[in-house]
Amino acid sequence: MRHRNIVTVTGVLSAGALVLSACAGGSSDTVGASAGGGGAVKSTLQLYAYSAPKVGYDKVIPAFTKTAAGKGVQFEQSYGPSGDQSRKVAAGAPADFVNFSVEPDITRLVDAGLVAKDWNANQYKGIPFGSVVTIVVRKGNPKGIKDWDDLLKPGVEVVTPNPFSSGSAKWNLLAPYAAKSNGGKDQAAGLAYIEKLVTGHVKVQPKSAREATETFLQGTGDVLLSYENEALFAERSGDPVQHVTPPTTFKIENPVAVLSKSKNLAKAKAFDDYLFTPEAQKLFAEAGFRPVDQNVAKDFAADFPAPQKLWTIDDLGGWKTVDGTLFKKETGSIALIYDKATQ
């Protein structure tokens, strides 16, 4: 008798699983979304991005598919640590469009012949949005963190991702470096700060900005260094955090590029162009990203306060120099500090 009951339950559950799988699938993971969207899907674009911009693309992609250029385009999106994502695409992961955190991750693809050399030829140098480096603290700021020096107070644990896989980590380290070295003029002072920070206050190595946020929200650390857009995302999600942007910080610029071997080159290029339109810029701004279109930026000035001093990558000599001297494996100054502290 019991045996028959077990068989019946088993049968019912199996049937349930099969019925569930008979429904059509798709890429959207929002509740209530219909598979494939309305209308025939004519092409698919595969987007490989760093870990933080999904909140922006959640707004921009639906808007793009409503335009004439984007009609019938279905998106497949992958998010992860910028360096790791770039490594995967270089190793053959399928992609039509990439949006990484730092320029070297695009350069890797240019060197591999996957992205055209003129990817950043437009007026915005291939950068549709950006942010600033900010310090995220627990709600109420119990440790009273206001500036870079506060991070070196005894007992303060700083959460920042691993610079060898994450783009965010590089920005996070460049901000205090630029502040302390006066824009790279006093390298020794900048590196001295980085050494104290990494050796004494960084204990975990999350692989990406998003994982760093998760680690911080789960209770590890007193301070999280991150993108301003990621801080806004956490706050708007209701997490008990707030962010403090130090007076001197760094301008984050996140580049995009089209893969030249894409099977949907025209659509990918159309998407690329779309990201720079005022409509898309406004949507990125609403999602917490600092737009590059100055007219749109004016409207959102309240959300994005201007820091007293904003260093940029050009002040330090451009990404090629910075990556080569500071972050290159085995030889970069910051890379060596990080290796020594974590090895």
């Binding site: 045996h3 077990i6 068989v7 339950v9 088993t10 559950l13 199996s14 349930g16 699983a17 569930l20 799988s21 429904c23 059509a24 699938g25 798709g26 890429s27 959207s28 993971d29 929002t30 509740v31 209530g32 979304a33 219909s34 598979a35 494939g36 595969q46 870990s51 999904k54 497949e76 999106q77 992958s78 998010y79 992860g80 995967k88 190793a91 053959g92 992961a93 399928p94 998003r210 994982e211 998760e214 995302f233 999600s237």
Partner: protein, 268 residues
Amino acid sequence: MRTSTGTRLTLRTIALGYLFALLAVPIALILWRTFGDGLGAFIDSVRTPAAISALNLSLLIVAIVVPLNVVFGVATALALVRGSFPGRGLLQAVVDLPFAVSPIVVGVSLIMLWGVDGWFGGLDRLGIRVIFGLPGMVLATIFVTLPFVVREVEPVLHEIGTDQEQAAATLGASSWQTLWRITIPAIRWGLTYGVVLTIARSLGEFGGVIMVSSGFPGVSQTLTLLVHSRYIDDHNVYGAYAAATLLMGLAVLTLLLMTVLDRKRSTT
């Protein structure tokens, strides 16, 4: 050995308490958190296009892995039990190897072999994508599920002996007829049990596929990858619970099948 009532009750309490704290309570909590807002929220969460695609992909991988494991598993078991060739001990050890390999190491090994810089990297230039494609995930799943059918069929083959098969041969049956009509029916419960174990392990594979998957929701995410991605990437804790509950449902289903078959196996 007669234990006093006191001892018996103490042991029972400790055992049940341990199981309660380790198994029962966490699972009950997840179920409560998943269904606390009603069945509707759960159904919606597992019916998103990405979740359906993940379920389909998991089932597709099972549909590929199981027949391959059945064919080669039975062949391996036959070779191990009925064969007499040099290297049987080595074959035995190789079949057991997957139990000793961490899923992450499985992923890394597959990357070293099939990746663009690997031994078979040339396949990528021919347009066949193994790593970051379905074949990679299938290979990882076959690796970890390889021993199950073999280990379940082997003892049965050993127990039934060759008498029936030899009788069939003397009556003029070809080896194929013998295999199909004598051997397979004799091992059917062991084989089915092995298949159920294979299905359970395939659905649960995570560490290996996360290394070789391209990670696109709706395309190359299995249910396990979906649970992980919802929790970490999407900050969608409820969604992660819902997907985990779905997987747990499938696991319970497998467990029920295992219990039913175990009884059939020991009574046949």
